[in-house]
Point group: C2
Chain length 177, copies 2
Amino acid sequence: MKKKTIAIDMDGVLADIEHQLIQHYNKANGTNLSKESIQGLEEEEAFVDRAVVRSVLNADNFFRSLPVMPDAVESVRELQENFEIFIVSAATEFPVSLAEKVAWLGEHFPFIKWENIILCGSKRIINTDYMIDDHCKNLDYCMGKPIMFTAFHNINKTHHLRVNNWKEVVAVLNETL
Amino acid sequence: MKKKTIAIDMDGVLADIEHQLIQHYNKANGTNLSKESIQGLEEEEAFVDRAVVRSVLNADNFFRSLPVMPDAVESVRELQENFEIFIVSAATEFPVSLAEKVAWLGEHFPFIKWENIILCGSKRIINTDYMIDDHCKNLDYCMGKPIMFTAFHNINKTHHLRVNNWKEVVAVLNETL
């Protein structure tokens, strides 16, 4: 039987961008943001100086050096047994991130083939059975079933199925088998 | 009314890869291939030494310096009035090509926004109303209506609607309006 497909986001889902963005933003901007202080804010409210955000995200090695989310590697490997996994990451806004994201996946998720990596802008034309993402701008328009991965900017959103960590992702998806 | 969507391939459709690949391959391999001598052959039959092909495609500046297909710029701009255009290019196999393809589009197609650029591997989860591509491996499994752009390797394939140039693309698509 053909496996069901899952589109998995990178930043905020496979890669822990939050911690590193706070650190780099504070350093560049002289602010004192913390994981706690930005809970429930929209990204633009949390990181007000958008020019600094752009400069941080455009810097060499930012995306290449992101830490992996807890349990992500083993969970994706486990899901791959029963689902076809596609990594679908918004990246074309920051061209320096493109090769870095492929290299990052190669290091941490070497069992994901290049055929299954998609670097995009909008995710509106991605058609998979499930989409795991932290951004409602992607989940609201996705063609399959949306699964919202908890992040500071979505904790007050309630209109998608929520998962708080990778163990919950695996539990939710295995239940569909 | 929501515009219909078109996924447009880059190599062999927007970008004239054939001429440049023949030149670089011949130079690296001491062969004497020509546009005429490879007509009707599969890519692997035309460019037999796959290691040389990989090295050519992995070289800096190969994709960045490809010529634009005749009439492509004006045609895509015209189609954009009535369709939503996505550029969908297989690129993750050659990471060096990723940023180069975005830069190439920025130079030649500055009216395409980053949101509408997709660099992928397999195109199987791309869902647009139309897909313009030269490769049957993409067209055979696409979710929308396939449109085959003529290339040396597909001239004997007859199972998709064929277009020979950009003027024909525009004519075929405008007829659907």
